[in-house]
């Protein structure tokens, strides 16, 4: 029998390991898994559906159509002077990414209980994979948005009322900000759901309320001054508005609200990661 050379690798297993420290090295070692999970999420979502990944476009288009009809034509809610379709599509770009990422992240423990009970890997890989795989759907939506954008810009009279410039290149940075909010809040809910299963039933309600408190179907400028504080507390509100500003050239971006959102996003992420790491240590004992 030969004996393998002594490895420098060492793992210490002891109670109450710090949940403040994020083991980035371990996550890096599992980067291949991250890639494969992204692929799995994407493939599995559209497997055996007739339209396949086209669903990523059908959903926002249908929503846009309904919004245009109900909020635009029936209720007459202003879209800030933009063509309604462009307005809603731009809102949904941000909102759908957030809602998907938030909900899936919130289900990290419940959806992966079996896996987590059988094998170790850095658990944060799962929300990271969710964050990335939703970007793929976002790309499809962005493509559809660009088509409509070109159509309205160059073939309709409304084209003079909006436009964009090099600032649109800041959109990816803005997406990082959005993802921070989505993942941070998702992690907090995930940790709470692991302990209190009741929250699973509240989740759709949270998403719905959040949608109405975010300027998705109305522009931020339509919010009365005395209610603007609600928008300041909702970290997503200035982000949806800023995205619109970047894509359509006009929007009510208030630096104060934006900074407030950045602070809240950072807070959500830090608290989320802390709670998540605290929960993952013994989550499996409570399943």
């Amino acid at each position: 029998m030969t004996t393998a050379p002594e490895s420098k690798f060492e793992i210490r297993i002891r109670p109450n390991q710090s949940w403040l420290r994020v083991d980035l090295r371990a996550i890096w070692e599992f980067r291949d898994l991250l890639g494969l999970l992204v692929r799995r999420d994407f493939v599995a979502r559209y497997q055996q559906t007739a339209l396949g990944p086209a669903w990523a476009i059908v959903q926002p288009l249908a929503m846009t159509f309904v919004f245009t009809l109900v909020f635009g034509k029936f209720a007459g809610i202003s879209t800030g002077g933009f063509p309604p379709i462009l307005f809603y599509l731009s809102s949904l770009l941000t909102w759908n990414y957030h809602a998907q990422t938030f909900q899936l992240t919130a289900g990290t423990f419940t959806a992966n209980a079996e896996l987590f009970g059988k094998v170790y890997f850095p658990r944060l890989v799962v929300p990271l994979a969710i964050m990335l795989s939703n970007l793929i759907a976002l790309l499809f939506e962005a493509a559809i948005f660009s088509l409509f954008w070109c159509y309205y810009k160059f073939f309709t009279a409304a084209g003079v009322h909006f436009g964009t410039d090099a600032r649109v290149l800041l959109a990816p940075l803005l997406l990082i900000h959005v993802a921070t909010v989505s993942v941070g809040s998702g992690l907090i809910v995930a940790s709470c759901t692991a302990k209190y299963r009741d929250l699973r039933h509240v989740l759709p309600l949270i998403v719905q309320v959040w949608l109405y408190l975010t300027p998705v179907i109305y522009p931020l400028s339509k919010v009365p001054a005395r209610w603007q504080w609600v928008m300041a507390l909702n970290p997503l509100a200035p982000l949806v508005e800023t995205m619109r500003y970047l894509l359509l050239g006009r929007g009510d971006v208030q630096p104060g609200q934006y900074l407030c959102s950045a602070a809240i996003a950072a807070f959500l992420l830090i608290v989320g990661v802390m709670m998540f790491q605290r929960t993952e240590r013994t989550f499996i004992d409570t399943v």
């Binding site: 002594e6 490895s7 692929r39 055996q48 004992d285 409570t286």
Partner: protein, 413 residues
């Protein structure tokens, strides 16, 4: 050399009752009760359950160590802690090597993905890098014997194919420490044999294996050393043969099988079998392939019995007869027996493969059946060094073992 696995006072506590507080209402109620200063209403009976208590041991690099114990002895908890799936309540464990754990095969298999995609996904979940998997891909596929279906979604696989593919991925891991839980209990006999062989190879390559199993034959075949857990504590540790024997002694009940109460019997009832005891002459309750056996039967009749005949038949689980011990065929029972007494039947080595056996008992007086009980008792035959190689065929291949020799005849030149 420093031990590759080192456990010091590892303990794990679970809260009994409804584990964790699963609903907000419970939590609120408990807090409310605590605030009001009493703990009666709504308080679920909570106690602590120690799944592991102060377990310490060390394992040297290259050892294959088995962990045995009854259900609930803490084997799985131990493996979960070492696999970092849950953390201990007390103590510390050090792993000085890259670990991989197989608590189940096929972990993370996605039914919609093809066999090929699942190999990569499962491998990555188990800690392999993509380029490592790519290197071993052909080997994995060949081992799994599912080449034809490698691009079919695994949900269309038969359960046998699924398990084979899953094990193939696991078997090609190259960790320094392999933690295995009962995965060998899957698949058909031929595949199990292949898996055992693979585990042996892993060990010969100098890697360390910690193997939890209920299957004493595979423990005996694979492990050099065994750790015995009981009620969460370390009960014994030592050479495989010794510890396994100790464990089996403790698991098999020492009671005599009482037959008096059995209603499912035939015969005229003029004499009845009262009890029976089955044991190995050498080692009491540990019955193994080379054991010589002793059957002790107590009987009772209304008056002294003349011309009695005792029959003990051994069957396997398919109700196929293996042996018949007939007192008339070999003699030894006097022509007249007292109304009440005990007779004993002893045998040569039973030469049976490991597995469960059932016995039927009958008591005849002349030509009349006085008492007949089917499945009066059962006993388990354990594997032992029958062929002094530690390898015996499994029960589903053959029932009996026979000492034999092989030789190679030099061709006459």
């Amino acid at each position: 050399m420093r031990p590759i696995i080192e456990l010091q006072g590892i303990a794990k506590k679970y809260s009994l009752g409804r584990i964790g507080s699963t609903s907000i209402r419970d939590s609120v109620e408990r807090t409310w009760n605590r605030l009001r200063g009493f703990n009666r209403n709504g308080a679920v009976p909570r106690g602590d359950f120690w799944a592991l208590r102060d377990v310490s041991f060390t394992i040297q690099p290259g050892e294959i160590v088995g962990v045995i114990g009854r259900n609930g002895a803490g084997k799985s908890t131990l493996l979960k802690i070492l696999s970092r799936i849950t953390e201990p309540t007390k103590g510390e464990a050090v792993l000085r090597g890259r670990p991989a754990s197989l608590l189940e095969v096929g972990t993370g298999f996605h039914p919609d993905l093809s066999g090929r995609e699942n190999i990569f996904l499962n491998g990555a979940i188990l800690g392999m890098r993509t380029h490592e998997i790519r290197q071993k891909f052909d080997e994995i596929v060949a081992f799994s014997e599912v080449e034809q279906f490698i691009d079919t979604p695994v949900k269309r696989y038969s359960s046998g194919m699924y398990v084979r593919l899953a094990f193939a991925v696991a078997a090609h891991l190259e960790p320094e420490i392999l933690l295995v839980d009962e995965v060998l209990a899957v698949g058909d006999a031929a595949f199990q044999k292949k898996c055992l062989g693979k585990m042996g190879d892993v060990a010969r390559e100098g890697r360390t294996v910690l193997f939890v199993s209920h299957n004493m034959a595979s423990i005996l075949a694979l492990c050099q050393r065994v750790i015995l857990l009981n009620g969460g504590a370390l009960l014994g540790e030592g050479s495989t043969q010794e510890v396994v024997r100790e464990y089996l002694k403790s698991t098999i009940s020492h009671e005599v099988v009482v037959l008096d109460e059995r209603a499912d019997r035939e015969g005229d009832g003029s004499a009845r079998l009262i009890s029976c005891q089955i044991e190995s002459i050498e080692s009491g309750h540990f019955i193994s392939s080379s054991s010589r056996m002793r059957f002790t039967l107590a009987y009772k009749g209304d008056r002294p019995l003349r011309h009695v005949r005792f029959l003990v038949t051994i069957y396997d689980y398919t109700n196929t007869g293996i042996y018949l011990f007939d007192s008339d065929a070999v003699g030894g029972i006097p022509e007249t027996l007292p109304a009440e007494g005990v007779v004993t039947c002893t045998t040569d080595p039973i030469n049976l493969t490991p597995g469960r056996c059932y016995i039927n008992l009958a008591l005849l007086r002349g030509a009349a059946i006085a008492d007949h009980i089917e499945q009066a008792a059962s006993f388990d035959v354990e594997a032992d060094e029958f062929y002094s190689t530690g390898r015996v065929p499994p029960r589903d291949w053959v029932m009996c073992l026979l000492k034999h020799k092989w030789s190679f005849d030099e061709p006459a030149s």
